[in-house]
Symmetry: C2
Subunit: 345 residues, 2 copies
Amino acid sequence: MRTEINKLGEFGLIERIAANFPLQKKTSKKGIADDAAVIKIEEDKQLLVSTDMLVEGIHFDLSYTPLKHLGYKAVSVNVSDIAAMNGIPHQITVSLALSNRFSVEAVDEFYEGVKFACEDYGIDLVGGDTTSSPKGLVISITALGQASPKKIVYRNTAKKGDVLCVTGDLGAAFVGLQILEREKRVFIDAPEAQPKLDNLEHVMERQLKPKARMDIIYELEEHGILPTSMMDISDGLASEIHHICRQSNVGAMMYEKNIPIDEQTAVTAAEELKLSPLTCALNGGEDYELLFTIKQEDLQKIEKIVDVHLIGYIHEAEKGVKVVMNSEQLMDIKAQGWKHFEENE
Amino acid sequence: MRTEINKLGEFGLIERIAANFPLQKKTSKKGIADDAAVIKIEEDKQLLVSTDMLVEGIHFDLSYTPLKHLGYKAVSVNVSDIAAMNGIPHQITVSLALSNRFSVEAVDEFYEGVKFACEDYGIDLVGGDTTSSPKGLVISITALGQASPKKIVYRNTAKKGDVLCVTGDLGAAFVGLQILEREKRVFIDAPEAQPKLDNLEHVMERQLKPKARMDIIYELEEHGILPTSMMDISDGLASEIHHICRQSNVGAMMYEKNIPIDEQTAVTAAEELKLSPLTCALNGGEDYELLFTIKQEDLQKIEKIVDVHLIGYIHEAEKGVKVVMNSEQLMDIKAQGWKHFEENE
């Protein structure tokens, strides 16, 4: 079934969306239906605000991305930024620009994913804007979080001697993307071919439906650990470690053997894609894991958190940003990250 | 001169923008340069959040819209929503998706307009996202304001007997748009023709560089008036009065003779465009004036505010939403407003 959006109109569409998102949070005083949402800030807390834009043809390809997963991912990307400040997300706003290729049912599917994410992260949808676009889909999400000022963790406060930690595993989302792009090319050449996606659940899920690591934020709190600096890994470990080092005026030493790479990621990268798993972990994007530093005195505490890996330490800025390879060679880390502007030349 | 954006890269572009926007507000604790901005909420205040998306080819046409004005307008549109809640704007985030048609100089021009608006409204740019798009320009702005919960004014609280007020004058932005569209068609047919824009400053400015009515918000406070309901007029008076009436479960009676229409708007509509000035005032969009209701006991106070016009009163829902015409006929007001989704069929 396909219902044209102009059948509902902008106001009809907004009401349809709002009906599926009753407010749950005590801090959400007014959601959709007025000129602005009204949010209560908890006592002694400050507000955290982060915003991201996702553009069809640049950040996602709807030929292999289910809209429901895209809705989930768009929320995760923003919640991940609130997590990276050691904050608790409370609300999001979601704006869409849609071409007439998209039906009401497509919008419903997208918001189904948004709703799953809101439930997973315990947040409310409190506003947004829905408009048409001459071409494609553009998603703009703003996430609002709260944190006590003493517990907000910035990027520019890493200190010499701190231990460098990373959550989960790296490179999987990038490997997932390469597989999906490969299967898309195969499909274009031979539409009758079956996609080869066996034993690729992990890399697929990490690309299509990533989770923000709020679990780690709650665990850090539970174990009484306040990181000395933190950010999320959206552009790849190499790029992010440079942000922390440059802004904190320090350098870092990492160990290849400690950089967490899932076995499926490593095997798929090396055997199917002929890529170095380490390169995928360093320069692949969209991991949405957390990169943070802790004081040495917190080492015993951090070891109680299962999914945190100690990958190195912070040293003087003059010593640069380096990795000790398994071969015992020392490699300089260059910042790379996504260069969306170049892809579009 | 034309510098390609990929010469700077995303991070270079962000740094270039951030350098022009030092934080001014006491409530802006951290702006651009971390995963999220950090905002302090003033004592006993709540947060107001509003977001709008502007899409090239739908909301603006760069063949006659200077980017600097567009930057200013994009901020105004969002500040207007904060004003409509009786709040004070503090911060904005600005996200852009840009095709490679746009140079660094074009981005600079847009942000020059954003900066003028930030200065006019006393707000800080604290974040955003900049990415490429396969086609055209998409702007997504989120505005953050603050207000004491007792002073926040909603749409759903108008009461029978309240006096209906509107600021400024209506229909000018719509008339300005029609003139610009006409001149564009003339130019396409005969590129050597000079545009006829004499004596059109007011309608041009209202279309290209509208101002949010923060001045009225400050004056209401100064005169001790708390509106009983309020919203901004972005989709036309007819559409907005229906929002207030439906959400408040009331009706409204308005008087044609009291609906403020600037002389330039009226003359241009009638003589050049062969349009009814009243229709432009009722159904034209993008006025960004304020529509609000006050208690009758505030009538003496409101008359001290120069640019506020009393256009009617609130009555029972059963009596509908009507205008007493100058001809003494009674006309039903239908909600109309922008229907962007239909324009895109």
